[in-house]
């Protein structure tokens, strides 16, 4: 990327802002099913997501940057998930944690949404049933990497 001298300060500020953003990704407290147990384990001393700056699980979507959809999304829960996502302030990111949230998993039936990416845009998918806590840490690392590269979240279409 070529930069003219006049843009130098703004570009550096942008880098600092991205660094700050990527090291303070606050997740939303939204455990839907058994994957939430592994999501809670991530905050335990052994895995310690505080090292990545994401230990503050916000209870209000207004103050959260990251939605970890942990567990199966029932058809009845889908509008709630969508509403919470809409209430989150931009920029926002979504991790689809586990087989059920990502694709429905073994629950290929009328009650479960077949992939949460049918209702909200997902940035990182984590396979597993449930994923190990370090698997989720890897996903948070991917989110941080995406933020540092300038990703705004929610731009990747279902592909």
């Amino acid at each position: 990327m070529e930069m003219s001298p006049g843009h130098f300060l703004l570009a550096r500020l942008d880098d600092v802002a991205r660094w700050a953003q990527s090291t303070s990704v606050w997740p939303l407290t939204m455990g839907l099913a058994c994957c939430a147990i592994e999501m809670m384990t991530v905050t335990s001393p052994e895995y310690d997501i505080a090292r990545l700056g994401s230990e503050v699980f916000r209870s209000s979507p207004r103050q959260a940057d990251l939605m970890i959809v942990s567990g199966r999304v029932a058809q009845k829960m889908a509008p709630v998930v969508k509403r919470l996502y809409d209430q989150m302030a931009d920029p926002k990111w979504v991790i689809s944690m586990g087989a059920c949230a990502s694709s429905g998993g073994i629950f290929d039936n009328y009650a479960i949404v077949q992939g949460v990416d049918t209702i909200i845009p997902v940035d990182v998918y984590v396979p597993g049933c449930p994923p190990s806590p370090d698997g989720l840490l890897y996903a948070v690392n991917l989110i941080q990497q995406q933020i540092r590269e300038g990703g705004r979240g929610g731009i990747l279409a279902r592909s």
Partner: protein
């Protein structure tokens, strides 16, 4: 005055507990640089194995596919020809695809496999940005030709694997003490471009 001093004592008593933790071992695993030693039978990413002579173990019987509770495995078998034998036996898997997003890592495919072809490795870093990248086909599942284990059965149709029924022995390639790096699977995982996660 005396009561205030008493309060200081209580604070010091409380802080001594906090201070004591400075001399205890930290339980934190510094994840991106240090990886946790999972249990030897941890269910992670799949791997399709070969025999020692680089023939594929999979004989395209589709038992894994029918055992799968999530219907995540697609196997399309084809007949071996005498000129080009992909596997000992009559058939081989022309296509072998696992949808890792649908998979629940229960290990039923591993149990169903009569030739120990499909196994679950300790690899847990599977997250990715794109949904389409989770369809693992043979190019990412199959181990490199020089990473085969076990002696292949003879080429006659109906020949049975020489290590049939000794699953436990083969699975013990995971060395708990040394971590992945000392294991046969770990050797494959270290050189990612050759086998898995290409």
């Amino acid at each position: 005055m005396r009561k205030r001093l008493f309060n200081v004592g209580a604070i010091l008593q409380g802080l001594s507990i906090t201070f004591g933790f400075m001399f205890k071992k930290r339980p934190t695993i510094e994840y991106p640089s240090v990886k946790k030693q999972h249990a030897p039978r941890f269910h992670g990413l799949h791997e399709l194995r070969r025999y020692g002579d680089a023939k594929e173990r999979c004989i395209g019987c589709e038992l894994c596919s029918s055992a799968c509770p999530a219907n995540a495995i697609t196997v399309i078998g084809a007949e071996n020809t005498p000129e080009d034998r992909k596997s000992p036996g009559e058939r081989y898997a022309a296509r072998y695809e696992i949808d890792e997003l649908r998979c629940i890592f229960c290990g039923l495919c591993e149990e169903a496999c009569p030739t120990d072809a499909i196994v679950l490795t300790p690899r847990f870093e599977m997250a990715d940005y794109r949904r389409g990248s989770f369809i693992y086909s043979k190019d990412r599942l199959l181990v490199p030709p020089d990473a085969g284990v076990g002696a292949a059965p003879d080429d006659r149709p109906g020949g049975i694997p020489s290590d049939l029924g000794r699953v436990a022995e083969i699975k013990s390639t995971t060395d708990v003490e040394e971590g992945y790096s000392a294991t046969h699977r770990g050797e494959i995982l270290k050189t990612e471009r050759r086998g898995l996660a290409g």
